[in-house]
């Protein structure tokens, strides 16, 4: 029990340190720049406490849950030595964690509104719904594809920079052809696809693979999966825009 309390205090202190800066920035701007008192102080204090406990639990859960699972899966796949199933798992992981991502659903709905306002879609709720759904599937496919490419890279030992820079060049080429209304959303969609649960799991898997395959260095080869998952949605979403609206 004493140990537990000691552990909890320690974790809460860490979480508090992580959040201190946010509190300082908000307080300084509220008092010095906007010059208004902070509303609902008790709500904020209560919420702040939840944030700290939540962050502490999450970090602990990472260390005893998500990281070990990701690494163990990677070892098991490496031992079983079946490239097909590993890639199938990689695709499934990318696709399934993205398709239901709340941030993505919000952006897809917003994108449908924009397209509808610009009269790019047939009028009516139905066409907006279909468009938003199509975008979600597109982004989920792109993330699945990204994890597959990323895992292949780790296995084959391809240097990451050529793939990523090649990807950037592709982004630029597709941008030239893509309709204006889709570009901002496409660029942002790269950043929002990787959620708080996916990132640790995918990172642990990459490092696990790079550790268990002979000749790979976990530092050089283990990271990079997230990078692909932030790059491919841009290309796929713009391609989706071109498919739906035609070339600019």
């Amino acid at each position: 029990m004493v140990n537990f309390i000691h552990w909890l205090v320690h974790r809460l202190k860490d979480a508090g340190r992580d959040f201190l800066l946010v509190v300082v920035v908000i307080a300084v701007f509220q008092f010095a720049v906007i010059q208004q008192p902070i509303p609902n102080m008790d709500e904020i204090l209560f919420g702040g406490l939840l944030v700290l406990i939540g962050l502490a639990l999450f970090v602990e859960g990472l260390k005893i849950g998500l990281f070990p699972i990701g690494e163990a899966m990677a070892y098991n796949f490496a031992r079983r030595n079946s490239l097909f199933w590993l890639l199938a798992f990689a695709f499934g992981l990318g696709f399934s964690t993205t398709v239901a991502e709340p941030a993505l659903i919000a952006v897809a709905d917003e994108a449908a509104k924009i397209a509808s306002a610009a009269r790019l879609l047939a009028p009516g709720q139905q066409s907006m719904k279909e468009y938003a759904y199509g975008m979600r599937i597109t982004v989920a496919l792109s993330v699945g594809f990204a994890i597959v490419i990323g895992v292949l890279r780790i296995i084959k030992g391809w240097p990451i920079q050529y793939l990523i820079i090649g990807g950037y060049i592709l982004v630029m080429l597709v941008t030239i052809m893509a309709p204006t209304e889709i570009i901002g959303i496409a660029y942002d969609s790269g950043g929002i696809t990787t959620s708080t649960i996916t990132v640790p799991l995918v990172t642990a898997m990459g490092i696990g693979l790079a550790t268990s395959i002979r000749g790979r260095n976990p530092m050089i080869d283990g990271f990079g999966l997230i990078a692909f998952a932030s790059l491919t949605p841009m290309i796929f979403v713009m391609a989706y825009g071109i498919m739906v609206f035609g070339i600019k």
Binding site: N76, F89, E181, S230
Partner: protein, 261 residues
Amino acid sequence: MNTINLLIDTFLNTIIDIAPIVILIVFFQIFILKNTLPRPKRLILGIFFVIIGITLFLVGLEKALFPIGKLMATQLSAPEFLFGTKEVPLSSNWTAYGWLYLFGALIGFATTIAEPALIAVAFKAHQVSHGLISEIHLRLAVALGVAIGIALGCFRIVTGTSLVLYIVVGYGIVIIQTWFAPKSIISLAYDSGGVTTSTVTVPLVTALGIGLSTTVPGRNPSIDGFGLIAFASLFPIITVMGYAQLAAWKVRNKKITSHNL
């Protein structure tokens, strides 16, 4: 919505979020890999911690940070605050939005430090590099990148310059830096672009982008409001590689000095 409802709602959403992952892992473990994971009880406890942790974290953010953060973003970008009038004066130029760039940079910096996904990646990077990469240094480097990205992104919305132009220049810098940066940092740097924009940062930055593009005359919030996230994902790549280059340069310098002695 009251707190209890919000808690239950968030809890269920988190479960829905994590369910496909759990199903996928269990399916592959039982049918394809046909073995068990080590210490299953501990792993289940860990998943349980993650679900409860994210639930409390999100509810807490919804109660404490998001209302005031979004309100501030809106207030700071409103013409009443910036110019003291209901309308944006015709004579105003990009310098009139000074407080907003500062707020964007600072809030981007602060929320990035608190971002759980980045905490996870920094922890792993520290472990894998055998302590060579310091967790807090990496997080500071990423946060600096986000700060620059958001401030510049706000400037772009105010001036109405093309998003593509900035992205092309940014990628150009990344490509050049990649040639010179230490090999071992490259994949981590590329990753740090994607992990920065997550739970804490995105809602606040989005509010800032929409508020700003509503205020500035001639901007369309549904088109110009986008792009801040893209900036916040691009510049950390540059700062993280910069951090590694600086560290490598320091080590080299030290060696030269000790040779001279």
